[in-house]
Amino acid sequence: MNVRKTTGYYIVDPEPRQKRASDALTAEAEKRERPIRAMLALAAFISVAAIVLITIMVFREAWPAIKSQGLLNMITGSSWKPTAAKPRFGLLPMIAGSSAVTLLALAIGVPIGLASAVFSAELAPKWAQSAMKRSAGVLAGIPSVVYGFFGLMVVVPAVRLLGGTGMSVLSASLVLSVMILPTIIGVSEAAIRAVPDDYRQASLALGATKWQTIKNVIVPAAKSGIVAAVVLGVGRAIGETMAVILVAGNIPVMPSGLLSAVRTLTVNIALEMGYVRPGTLHYSALFTAAAVLFAFIMAVNLMVRAITRKAR
């Protein structure tokens, strides 16, 4: 029995635990579990191995082009002519293309998605809520090629009425905005539902209308979740290939307006990878495009983590 005296009171330390017969059995069970535990840990490690290998591979294949052209030159170069006599590997047109298409898709998709989330969480009767959930679920599952094909058959001819060939920034953004809707709706709705009911009750008790409550209390309270939703939407839109490749025109020049044809980083890789020879500078330049894309998406992921961690 061990009694310590500290300022003001005594502490009695508990007896060290007596050895029991079951201790040997527990130790043996743990030992028998060791190979199982190791195998499971190995399975878990595969994720880590995969992302590490992908990162290494992308930057390794991109290195020759980066070394020869200089990363800054490639990112700011506005001329992409890989097969010319004096090849140029400027990625700026594609970076601008990806940015333009994504930003416009956000401008269209975020308001509609956020409104749909608010509708589902705050305004809709039960049947409408489940209808919205199902719609978002099905939209999320439709393959990107189908979106691209629909865009080609419906959106492009419609945009053609405004001028040009129809294959444009506008068409790609319209298609992408529908694709990111489920992402935006899903995460925003969760964030809105997570706002404690007390907030609503307090606001209504103070005499605010339901709309005022939503606008001034609930949405600001769900702000970090909504921002996370938008950032996730960005990640989705930037990484999209098949939906864009069929509707954007794919000319590697700086986009000059809503109706001009544009090529994104993803489409650039997909189109040209089919006919490059490995080991050439062109091949490596495509991997540089992939590296830029990859780096951007990793940054986006970090942002989401930072935002959601702040919320907690």
Binding site: A29, E33, I36, R37, L40, A44, I46, S47, V48, A50, I51, V52, L53, M57, V58, E61, I112, A115, S116, V118, F119, L123, A124, A131, M132, R134, S135, G137, V138, L139, G141, I142, P143, S144, V145, V146, G148, F149, F150, M153, L181, T209, K210, W211, Q212, G239, T241, M242, I245, L246, T266, I269, A270, M273, G274, A290, L293, I297, N301, R305
Partner: protein, 278 residues
Amino acid sequence: MRDSRKMQEKIAFGVITAMALMTVSALILIIGYVAWKGLPALNWKFIAGTPGDPLETGILPMALNTLYLVLLTLALALPLGILAAIYLKEYSKEGPFVKLVRVATENLAGVPSIVFGLFGLVFFGKLLGLGWSLANGALTASIVVLPTIMRTTEEALASVPRSFREGSLALGATRWQTIKGVVMLPALPGIMAGTMLSIGRVVGETAALMFTLGSSDRAISSVMDSGRTLSMHLYILAHEGLSVEGAFATALVLIALVLVLNLASEALASRAMNKGGR
């Protein structure tokens, strides 16, 4: 004063409802239009035939290829993902290794499909010498769906009440025996829902398969053989403009597949919720 606030509210709610309607109408528009244009082309010759004349593109080989790809991908990804999730949920403490795995999985989930495709091309295709093949495509696709399987399995395991585990351990079972015998069963519907999601992802995947599975229009006959899936077929038809009818019909088949998977997943998810409540 009160009237103007009421007015604002009415307008705001009107706009919000209209936007929500836009979401649903987008879905109805896409499905409806593809169905309208695709149904006429959907005859038995189309489904069961093989592509000969480019204007009479039968999709049986592509459907088979899609099936083979899904099966092989699941065979790779399910054991890996489930075991990994079991480790994360049941065997480990929230230490640095677990954090590393979680960060890696989140990042993996955000990688664009085309980058997966490049990885498959270089790593499985060149380094491991698999070239364009079912093996390459399935390996690549399994990395694509691994985060989804890990996440949904972990959630399914988490929804199993603690009392199940405690009761089993109290009866003297080892941790592995507990997982195998007691925890996995109620987690199964959730795991299956995740599997449906992954199947949907594999079926819809194109960019990751372009340079790994290849695009030959014949049915795959061995693991090292290459051949296109339904999604890839739709892309080729649309891109080269060979057969608009064929494209619409293929798109319709794909949408129908997605709907079926969605319904199955929903049914399983609701079963999971009912079971996990005890």
